[in-house]
């Protein structure tokens, strides 16, 4: 209870979310369920990255009245992981839309959402 910090809680949440996402990716048979597992995996990775950049008792990296302009280095959190996650979320939406379009095309070809019916490349 002594060293239970905010960033530790969110880090553990993110790690378990990643594991749930991988479990969904590997065990589900429905193609849309697989895409849902992928989005959960994405969200988990983003939570891990933001919580690693957090610094205890500091504010957001935006300089306004609450931040002393001469002492910025000791009052804001790390801006670099936030910038990475910001763009990664938008890319994640594009990739999700691409995967769902492929699911739609596969359904139009074979009339099935079961992954077991697509065994063309199985050896």
């Amino acid at each position: 209870m002594e060293n239970l910090n905010l960033e530790i809680i969110t880090l553990i949440t993110g790690v378990i979310l990643v594991l749930i996402g991988i479990w969904g990716l590997l065990t589900q048979k429905n193609l849309i369920k697989i895409v849902i597992g992928f989005t959960l995996f994405d969200t988990g990775i983003h939570i891990i990255m933001v919580s690693i950049g957090y610094v205890k008792n500091r504010t957001a990296p935006i300089i306004d009245q609450s931040v002393n302009i001469n002492d910025v280095g000791n009052s804001v959190v790390d801006p670099v992981p936030q910038a990475l996650v910001l763009t990664a979320i938008v890319i994640g939406l594009g990739v999700t839309a691409l995967m769902l379009t492929y699911v739609l095309k596969m359904y139009q070809k074979r009339k099935s959402l079961e992954i077991n019916n697509y065994n063309d490349l199985k050896w």
Binding site: I8, V15, I22, L26, P61, D78, T87
Partner: protein
Amino acid sequence: MVKNSLIFIVLIGFAVLLADLFVGFNGNTDLNTLANHYAVSGPEEVGSANLVTAVVVTYRGLDTLGEVTILFLAAAIVSFLLKVEAGASLNRKLRSTSEILDTASRILVPVIFLFGIYVFINGHLSPGGGFQGGAIIASGLVLMLLAQPAKEVGHKLITLVESISGISFVLIGVAGVLFAAGFLDNKLLSLGKFGTIFSAGVIPIIYIFVGLKVGAELSGIITNLHENQNEA
């Protein structure tokens, strides 16, 4: 049985890999060197009050160009796969929308567009920026398409906005090579007074183009999916 145990082994492996992150982790108490440099000298070098914007647009500007390109590729492939023939539009029966929804969407959609534009113009002063503003504009388009399903959005307009803002983004970067210190350098214009809207050099202009480009790409994806519903 073998399959289940294999999945279990994979999960255990990932858990061991990620456990390395939080076993000895006790929270940061200080910034690392790179982040400290960005935080201390960022306001003077770049002039942007929002340090995330400074990192996205200036310090890591080339990465942002690459990410916008990836998004463009995804949107282009989606629209290529979901192509609708010109004659086959709207042969499904539409239920008439209620008058309340119609009036409310007519009031709300321009306000949402205006809010998106506000978000990406003020990206260097307050939370927000091109990516968020583009997403908000695409959300307004979703509301418009759900409230008035028969409405057609011009593909020509989306393509034009998308390509013009992409070209302008690259041209501003090249102008930075010619007239300032390097590619996408923001000292092309004067830095201005810190904390006002006409400050931070060329950052607001770049973020306006990024916002228009992201908004046009997401709107393209949404429009293609919506028009594909009309086909049999």
